[in-house]
Symmetry: C2
Subunit: 335 residues, 2 copies
């Protein structure tokens, strides 16, 4: 199956500690909220061990925790590719190297998303056979398992063959993380008819129809994202990112509009529904297709979001998501 | 300003009746809900006069209202272009012809969206200078004027120059309908930076920066759609449709999740917020760029949605939206 020697995070036994490299410098509220969230992840008892990565002065007060010094910081506005090439001693690059070198089993960052992806891709390497890694975001659906949306932003432009791999990786994710035997995969479009959409969608539709091992249910629409009829939705990274952020915006807008209308007694009844759909709670996005676990939080991540993101990273290591992805995109053996 | 002789709906004085041609055959609940909604629109006292268009048998019980017989029906699954060409005696084509011929000032349909657009485009004609008509959908934002999203689905693929016209038409819409002196226009992308997005977005960004008469605020994201920082958002019809339906899906999902959690006493306090964001209430989408008012409701439109859509159609006639659009895209006079 072509497993690389480096940084192989294949499933430690239940209960064993998982080391997560945490980019202490990343995010709007770094380092304070990141450190607070990291501690919370450990205290939650999920078997997480930390490897804090960042500037020594940012790690003040966290001397009791294992750390890795990195002198540079990739800022939120930095160009992803250029900054990863130039800032070789940045916390993001060092965190990805820690996974590559086996010092950590996963990395978490709430920093520059593009640079986090570039660091993971360049330092951990690509899973053999993967054309383009994709960002997967589980969209929480009340009352059922989340819908895995990918690509949620890694590739603004896509080839149809990449969408096919996104379907394979998304299925592997839904199978491995949510225990679904045969995840239902939809292709995001502007109508259920195969004749609708862009040339990319039409071409991908034909390829997905022919794809063995995938339960392709056809084209779906934006309104299906949070439905119980789907487990995985594939699309290009531009459309996926817009859809994801539209959902987040709608949720935030509704929460703000509803809050003043509801009494303090009633709010606790409805808040969990609104919070369950909040990216702060569900733990951020994962880069699928690289040789290691890389979880990326919102730039605005609070300590709660950081703790949840780290817990998700550890979970993905435990279930050996990377192994499942390797198997999902491996070319079939010659008969 | 090059007004055509045919079907000019330029602003009847306040209080004068506006004739709206209503496609009685269009929509999942046609003709019953359409007829009920049409009656409701008249009874609401908004100065609407009906011209019902459809099969005589579908008009049974509505003999007291003016009507126009059409023997054919364009079904929801029919190919838009082909059906409009073939079914010349369909309710959609006849409704568009009624506007062209001045028998009605606007048309409303909850039927096949693509066929409604094709009928309007082919029968009413394009406003001079418009490259491609676009669907505009006002997204309700609690506490402020709606954000006008276009293109919400007419053109799955777009050229950058079309997005520039969408900005002009969307601005004209927000100015004319919501009284905004200088609507703020955003370009939908996956980050605020001009360097992010697809080649289409990057090219459109440069063109919009140079465009006189438009308050271009730069690139915006999905989460900004329902914010108070924007009045118009332009994008291609694929992305716009996915964003719109993602919002609708999020809203529906939240409503269904919240309903059982809230007592019958509390629900009336929060229902208006949820309903205010409902396309049933805000009246559907408008095709901008054709020589007449064309409002398109959801296929699932109830009588309420039909009544609201007809009222919006009449409002767009009264404010002379078509005249404002003609002026907005008219080429500047040679100096």
């Amino acid at each position: 199956m072509g497993r690389d020697a480096h940084g192989d995070p294949s499933g430690p036994p239940e209960g064993e500690r998982v080391v997560v490299a945490v980019d202490v410098m990343g995010g709007d509220h770094a380092p304070a909220e990141v450190l607070a969230g990291a501690r919370r992840a450990v205290e939650a008892g999920a078997g997480v061990e930390l490897l804090l990565v960042g500037r020594p002065e940012a790690l003040a007060g966290a001397e009791d925790l294992p750390s890795l010094a990195a002198a540079e910081v990739i800022e939120m506005g930095d160009d992803p590719g250029a900054s990863v090439r130039r800032k070789k001693d940045s916390s993001l690059v060092r965190a990805a190297e820690a996974v590559r070198d086996g010092r950590a089993a996963a990395m978490f960052s709430a920093g520059n998303t593009g640079a986090a992806m570039a660091s993971a891709l360049l330092r951990m390497g690509r899973i053999r056979g993967v054309s383009r890694p994709a960002v997967a975001t589980p969209l929480p659906v009340p009352g059922t398992t989340p819908t895995v949306l990918l690509d949620a932003g890694a590739n603004a432009e896509c080839a149809a063959a990449w969408l096919v791999q996104f379907a394979q990786m998304g299925s592997a994710y839904a199978r491995t993380r949510y225990g679904l035997a045969q995840p239902r995969v939809g292709l995001l479009s502007i109508g259920e008819e195969a004749s609708k959409g862009t040339p990319l969608v039409k071409e991908a539709h034909l390829l997905l129809q022919e794809l063995p091992g995938i339960d392709f249910v056809g084209n779906v629409e934006g309104r299906d994202l949070l439905s119980d009829d789907l487990d995985v939705v594939v699309t290009d990274g531009f459309t996926g990112n817009v859809a994801l952020k539209s959902l987040e915006g709608a949720l935030r807008c509704l929460r703000e509009a509803l809050r003043p209308l509801v009494s303090a007694e009633v709010w606790p009844a409805i808040a969990p529904v609104l919070e369950g759909l909040d990216p702060e709670v569900y733990g951020g996005a994962m880069l699928l297709g690289v040789e290691g676990v890389c979880v990326i939080g919102h730039g605005s991540s609070s300590a709660t979001a950081v703790a949840n993101g780290i817990a998700v990273a550890a979970e993905l290591v435990r279930i050996d998501l990377v192994g499942a992805l390797r198997a999902a995109v491996a070319p079939p053996l010659p008969m």
